[in-house]
Amino acid sequence: MQAIPPPEILLQLSLNGALGGAMYGVAAVGLSLIFGTMRLIFLAQGAMIILAAYFVRALFYGLGIDPFLSLLIVVPVGLGVGWLVYQGLFRRAAAEEDRNISLLIAVGLMFLVQNLMTVVWGGNTAAVVTSYTASGIEILGVRTSFTRSMGFLIALAGTGLVVLFLRKTLVGKAVRAASEDMEAATLMGISPHRVNAIAFAIGIALAGAAGVAVATTFPFNPFAGFIFSLKALVALALGGIGNVAGALAGGIILGLIEAYVQYFISGGWTNAIAYGVFLAVLMFKPEGLFSRPYKKA
């Protein structure tokens, strides 16, 4: 344990934690959508994020496309891939009562993607280094990395767009309805396959956006995805399963926890404490930290 540090350090910790945590958050938003309609823990989400990061790297070094500009390519491709992944891999399993089947397909996909990445790009750590990678900007009097701040903005924008979609469009409302009660939704004429596919498309598109943020901020390797999935799950639980905006907030909180634990206790305990908080939330506030209970009739 260390003595209470000066406020600048606390601010620095909070800022870095929040910026980093937003990336867990955006992964969690994707998980939340997919879990919402399919009741599936999509463990391959992290692997998809890393796949997107490699894709961004290939676009940058191969074609000279700026990583942030590549969002314009990665996100639409993500939508398409998500749609295809659902139709090709999960459509049949979604109809089965046994949800282990979907879970295992997700696990299989994770194995497949991370090992394909190893075959194609090798198992070593990769990174995207641009002219602005090392540059910093000043927020609230604290210097922080430019790319991290951009990652935060991407997370914010991505989540914002998803929330708008869910709240303002009829199809978005159908997705919410299906997340709450699939049977009742089908009675409204909503096709489960359609909402599942939409959830998957948006989920993978968000993985693409997160991939851009990861590629520009951290070095990564094909197997980094699983930890990302786990962290996203923690964020999801903190925010409340099924609460999309809460998932982003959960990610930010997780980032803060990690930053503080790393500074005050030790880097070695970061994960244990993060998962400890996760367990505590699951047990004592399984509806998440942000749920407002409403009167039940």
């Binding site: 879990f35 009741r39 823990i41 891999l89 049949r92 399993a93 089965e96 046994d98 282990n100 089947i101 879970l103 295992l104 397909i105 696990v107 299989g108 996909l109 994770m110 194995f111 497949l112 993607v113 991370q114 090992n115 394909l116 190893t118 075959v119 699983f226 786990l230 799950l233 923690v234 639980a237 399963i241 070695g268 305990w269 994960n271 244990a272 998962y275 400890g276 996760f278 367990l279 699951l282 047990m283 004592f284 399984p286």
Partner: protein, 328 residues
């Protein structure tokens, strides 16, 4: 469902014949040194792990994603007892091989895992259902791993613990103990599932409310299944220790020890007695074959196999080809 491809009774005879053949295999000249021997040893370990997972998830309906932690606990318990000679004192000097496949050490490995399962299972299972329980056990597994990495001298930190043994000259004892444990665990679960407790477990899985209304202590039944599952995983971990000697956080807490048995069970047939064993044989054969034939791509093949199996055999081998399989 397909028509009864193999009659019910026949399964038992096939199982007995296979076990007998496996038991007699070492008598075959050259078998002990053959590749098949170590292959089968791993199949046994995975089959035991799969059987353990099947107990809590298949029969109990509680998806545990933390069984690798119990495997690791069993492995560490064995390695620590042995390297610190906490169990046999001066007897160890007289009989240096006393820890080898020592039943007491192995059972303790299982017990440590079972106790951990009860400690974590009581709060988790009383509060969490379904996916939340699955997520909770996943978090638990990660916590245990970090605790062992940070456990100082006792757990050997990131390096782990090395059992004070040289290499072994023969895999024969590993093979026989593995086979025995696989058969023993299967028989024990068969007995268990035919007992009052087994009926209660199935009742809880199928309809918790109705079970509770019929006077079944739901929490106790679930925790017991979780602990039983952990015990089996702990024993498997102990057995593995006698094979690798060096127990480290990355080797025995590897998620594969949870994911592969889970996959094998589902491929073989969740909630069936022979499914986990069949799944372990088939899947490990596929993985191993891929490893030999296309070494660079073998994990890709593994991933593909899981996906294909789930797409085309979602009910598992036992239920797809076994006809109307009697559950136990």
């Amino acid at each position: 469902m397909l028509k009864q491809a193999v009659p019910k009774q026949a399964w038992m005879w096939i199982a007995i014949a296979v076990v007998a053949a496996l038991a007699l295999l070492p008598l075959l000249p050259g078998a002990i040194d053959s590749y098949a021997f170590s292959f089968l040893f791993f199949v046994f370990i995975y089959a035991i792990m799969a059987q353990g997972w099947n107990l809590v998830a298949g029969f109990g309906g509680q998806i545990s994603l933390g069984n690798h932690a119990f495997f690791g606990l069993g492995a560490y318990t064995t390695a620590i007892l042995w390297s610190g000679n906490y169990l046999w004192g001066s007897l160890y000097d007289a009989y240096p091989r006393i820890y080898y496949f020592d039943p007491v050490t192995m059972v303790l490995g299982g017990l440590v895992a079972a106790v951990a399962a009860i400690i974590i299972g009581l709060p988790l299972l009383s509060k969490l259902r379904g996916d939340y329980f699955a997520l909770g056990t996943l978090g638990f597994g990660e916590i245990v791993k970090v605790m062992f990495i940070n456990g100082g001298d006792f757990t050997g930190g990131a390096f782990g613990v090395v059992a004070p043994a040289g290499t072994f000259d023969t895999l024969l004892p590993h093979y026989l103990v593995g086979l025995g444990l696989m058969v023993g665990v299967a028989l024990a679960i068969r007995l268990l599932m035919r007992s009052r407790y087994g009926l209660a477990l199935i009742a809880v899985r199928d309809d918790e409310m109705a079970a509770s209304a019929n006077g079944i202590d739901v929490l106790r039944v679930k925790v017991a299944a979780f602990a039983g599952s952990a015990f089996i995983a702990g024993i498997a971990g102990s057995l593995y220790t006698y094979y690798i000697f060096h127990v480290g956080p990355d080797s025995v807490f590897d998620l594969d020890w949870m994911l592969l048995p889970l996959m094998m069970t589902v491929v073989g047939g969740t909630g069936t007695l022979l499914g986990p064993i069949l799944g372990a044989f088939v899947m490990y054969a596929v993985f191993d074959l891929a490893r030999i034939v296309v070494p660079d791509y073998h994990p890709v093949i593994s991933g593909l196999t899981i996906i294909l199996a789930m797409l085309f055999l979602p009910k598992g081998l036992m239920r797809s080809f076994g006809g109307r399989v009697r559950v136990v």
